[in-house]
């Protein structure tokens, strides 16, 4: 395996200075993404998942600013790119699809216009060739009657169709990475499954890497080989899907999994996570999840937990794991 990852995010921090104070949306997160892999980012609303995605493409809305860290794409730090270089980067190297297909397409332009726009920007195809490409793309994403769709306006399509169009736009220039920012949240359950299937199929066909952002653990389980769990702009736990689902080592992940219905014989009670998400304006000194954590300890309130390996494919930042090591050692001493 080539040693430089396709995408390497190092210590990324993003914040939004507002009238009330600075909102720390993302606080020093790092992760890698390899060619053809699918990385899942889970967390509740406000945990900084989407902001992370926008930071990678540098499309934060005012007053959002990347305040620290590096983002390497194929070994190049894109934070050093000029805005002009970014134009050539966005949509060509990394593209993104958004949560709400209803509002993500420009209402006053036809579908065809919006797909060809990306093609004309990034390739030297002429208008006619771009149109042909757009037609192929619509076929690829499974839109029926593509010839007709090209000339239609977004409001004439259903939600699922629009999301397919969004995917077509994102794939127009065969990007290396596709970021899917809650691509199925606004869709019906049956349509959700279709869209996810389509994305997996396309990944196999085109070989791109996918970053899947969602609060839906079901989606993540189905799609991803590596999972990052985020809370309050920090990574609390990461690992393979199996590790995260069957061996959660952070209280927040455990809480998340407990709040998920299981279709097993024994009727387990669903346990919601109590409390409300943290106020990003006033971040606590210690672990951000501590005020809601039922296992919180003194140290959790005063000190940020460090990320420690559980095994070769699993990292977690929770003081509970440290305590466990201590307890084991103590136990060992007693017995030994």
């Amino acid at each position: 395996m080539n040693d430089t990852p396709l995408l390497q995010v190092k210590n990324l921090s993003t914040s939004f200075p507002t009238e009330q104070g600075v909102v720390h949306a993302v606080n020093g997160i790092s992760f890698n993404l390899d060619i053809g892999n699918t990385l899942g980012i889970v967390g509740e609303s406000g945990s900084g998942k989407s902001v992370t995605a926008y930071s990678i493409l540098r499309i934060l809305t005012d007053p959002g600013r990347i305040t620290g860290g590096e983002i390497y794409f194929k070994g190049e730090n894109i934070l050093n790119y000029s805005e002009k270089e970014m134009y050539d980067f966005r949509g060509k190297k990394i593209s993104i699809i958004f949560q709400d297909p209803m509002t993500s397409l420009n209402p006053v332009y036809t579908v065809g216009n919006q797909i060809t726009e990306a093609i004309l920007l990034h390739t030297d195809r002429n208008k006619k060739e771009a149109n042909e490409r757009a037609l192929n793309l619509l076929e690829l994403v499974g839109v029926n009657d593509p010839q007709k769709r090209l000339k239609q306006y977004p409001h004439e399509l259903s939600g699922g169709m629009r999301q397919r169009v969004m995917i077509a736009i994102a794939l127009a220039c065969e990007p290396d990475i596709l970021i899917a920012d809650e691509p199925t949240t606004a869709l019906d359950v049956t349509i959700q499954a279709q869209i996810l299937e389509l994305m997996q199929e396309l990944q196999k066909k085109l070989g791109m890497a996918i970053i899947m952002i969602t609060h839906d653990l079901g989606v993540i389980a189905e799609m991803c080989n590596e999972i990052i769990v985020m809370y309050a702009g920090r990574i609390c736990e990461r690992g393979t899907a199996d590790e995260i689902f069957y061996n959660p080592c952070h209280s927040y992940t455990k809480g998340l999994l407990r709040s998920l219905p299981k279709f097993t014989k024994d009727r387990e009670k669903l346990i919601p996570i109590s409390g409300t998400p943290i106020d990003l304006l006033n971040m606590p000194k210690g672990c951000a999840f501590a005020p809601r954590c039922k296992d919180a300890m003194q140290i959790c309130l005063s000190e940020l937990p460090k990320e420690i390996p559980i095994n070769d494919f699993h990292l977690a930042s929770c003081w509970m794991n440290v305590k466990k090591v201590y307890d084991e050692v103590k136990e060992g001493r007693k017995n030994g």
Partner: protein, 359 residues
Amino acid sequence: MRKFSSDKVPRKKLLSLHIDVDRFLPATSEQKEQQVTMLPSTTFFKDGMRKLFKKPLAVFAIVVLSLMVLTIIIAPRIVPYGYSEIIKVEGKRDRGLKNLPPFTYSEMEQEAIDNGADIFPHIFGTDELGRDYFIRVVYGTRVSLTVGLFASIIVLVIGLLYGSIAGYFGGMVDLIMMRIVDIIYSLPDTLMVILLSVVLDKVIGESLHGTAFASIGTNMISLFVVFALLYWVGMARLVRGQILSIKNNEFVLAARAMGASNWRIIRKHILPNCMSVIIISTALQIPSAIFTESFLSFIGLGVQAPMPSLGSLANFARGGMQSYPYKLLIPAIAICLIVLSFNLLGDGLRDAFDPKLRR
């Protein structure tokens, strides 16, 4: 996937971190709560007022308007001249009293003062008939503010009633009521105001003679009538739209399920929820009414002479504007200040109270 790199703290090393075992004791729920800094809870109104008073421009507007209101209340009690009084000096007419510059006395007045008489200064001078200009401007401001306020209240009451009935009952009632609104809305309002003012002046002029209304003049009455006939449609549309959007909320359904009457639902549930929008648009209606009044005064359809309004004062001052530009400037600045203040206040209220602007 690739294995995680070894730059993380390995498990074994944890023991050398020198962590006090006491710190692994569970945290109490009080301690947890302390971590969460709650925003001070405020009511919608308090929060809005706090925001309003944080805006320097809105505060400026409130101060200017308060000063004006104070002036028009106090000044007539202090200044010993009437707005239509042609000033006499010791009972005699004084030709020298016409068109005096600010803070000056005529020769006759000067003589009287030298003889020990106490004559109140002409703060803004006098007009071409020998009337005190300051008191005329004060009364003019009073008329303009009154017009603005009353016109807005008329618009508010009619628009609110009409809009809430149409919006609340919906269906056929709404359809017919809103068609009427559409037609009135499509009429060019200023032209209609002119037309109706011309006519009403003649029609109701006779019948008003001798009543209390005579002093404010037929034009003023017709202005109010016109506002009552035409200008409420904007408010009615606004209220209806608000009600339609609120009506479908679950809390209204819940109230109805509990057997609340229509009137109670409108009063208790719907109106409080669209109050902020209504107040803001009323605040913005006042300057537009003042604009309309001054416009009508300008084309000769405003208040009845000798009653002044800021518009008519400015209009009359155009005649001698090269010789006495201040006579034009004073009422002009007064109008600008009033309109500006109301606009700023309206903007401030919108920023502070409109929930749609809140994030």
